[in-house]
Amino acid sequence: MISVADLLTNDRIPANYYANEVYVRGDLEMGLLESRRGDRLLAIPETLIQAIYAGLTKETGQASRLVLFNCGRWWGKNFFNRFRDEVSDYYEMPLVDMSMAEFLQALKQCWMTYGLGKLDLDQSYHHRGFLVITTWNSAFIRQAPKSQLPAGFLEAGILSAVFSQLAGRELHCVQTSCESLGSDCNRFVIGLQKRLDSAEAMVEKQLDHESIMPRLCA
């Protein structure tokens, strides 16, 4: 028999930790933003995003992609650690014990509340050792300088860090489709570095996601 009283934790039912009205707090007296746990937040406007691209291109040329990827990795690692602490405290359950569906639901909400856009997981290549993350509405991709190649370096860095932390082993991430190139969404393939090398080469040759995946899995 189900006892309804047992379904409650201290009279509370946890739901969406990342509801934006609760998660983000502004203090205009100090000019500060913070999360509900008290971590300082910064809002990065379009002009700064454009400036990051322009400044990096000016000073580092081609290396700017790598700088952004590394920045994403650095940030992503901290992002994940914070996410893990926030979520496991809130749901009173270690992240490793959460179901994939619940983990993903929290990650999606977190991603949205940070204004990073929408995110989803495509598990159809899971058995081949790859995860595919799809995203929409990325401000970094919207503002990227025009190029023949996918532009989500920052996101690729973040996602590689997040899933490396989650898996407990070093994983790489390659973007195989991009809204800036007219795709319906951004697709990021996550897997072991050596298994993704060929994907990187195929992206350089401007193959699309549908052509890359079967070859990667062959």
Partner: protein
Amino acid sequence: MQPPFDAIFDEAEHRYLKPDELQEMRQYVFSLKDRVSTYQMIRDRELSLMQQVADQIQYTMPDAELAALERSLKNAMLSLRYCSMGMVLNDPSFVQNRLLGWLSDSMQIHNSSAIDRAVFRLIVQQLAQVLTSQQMELFQPFLNLAQAVLPAPVEEEMLTVAGMF
């Protein structure tokens, strides 16, 4: 509609509220007594009400997985909590922003529409016994918001002549 107090500051520097705007506020403020007592009623009867729902749902859906039932009951309780607060504040956007996105996501992930629908049906039945019709009238619009995001039941594909070949 806009939450009752938002409008006060919106144009504060340009004009004062008009008599009809003040009247609208007055109506809300004087409805607060009923809103709060309805809230208290739902709050205080939550456990017994939901326990009855839980007993009935186990009876009507004996084959359903226990975990799935529990999850649906939890989501329903959560909805009751958010919707009743939305009623106190007379603010549908509160329910929209704080509950609905997350709720519909959760229901889709767990593909639990049949159970969710049955649970909600039972809740409405139970509420009708606990609340007066006036209280139900206050609460119903907010409950409807949550019910509106329940995924439609999956219809079995009907074979038609057009689909034969």
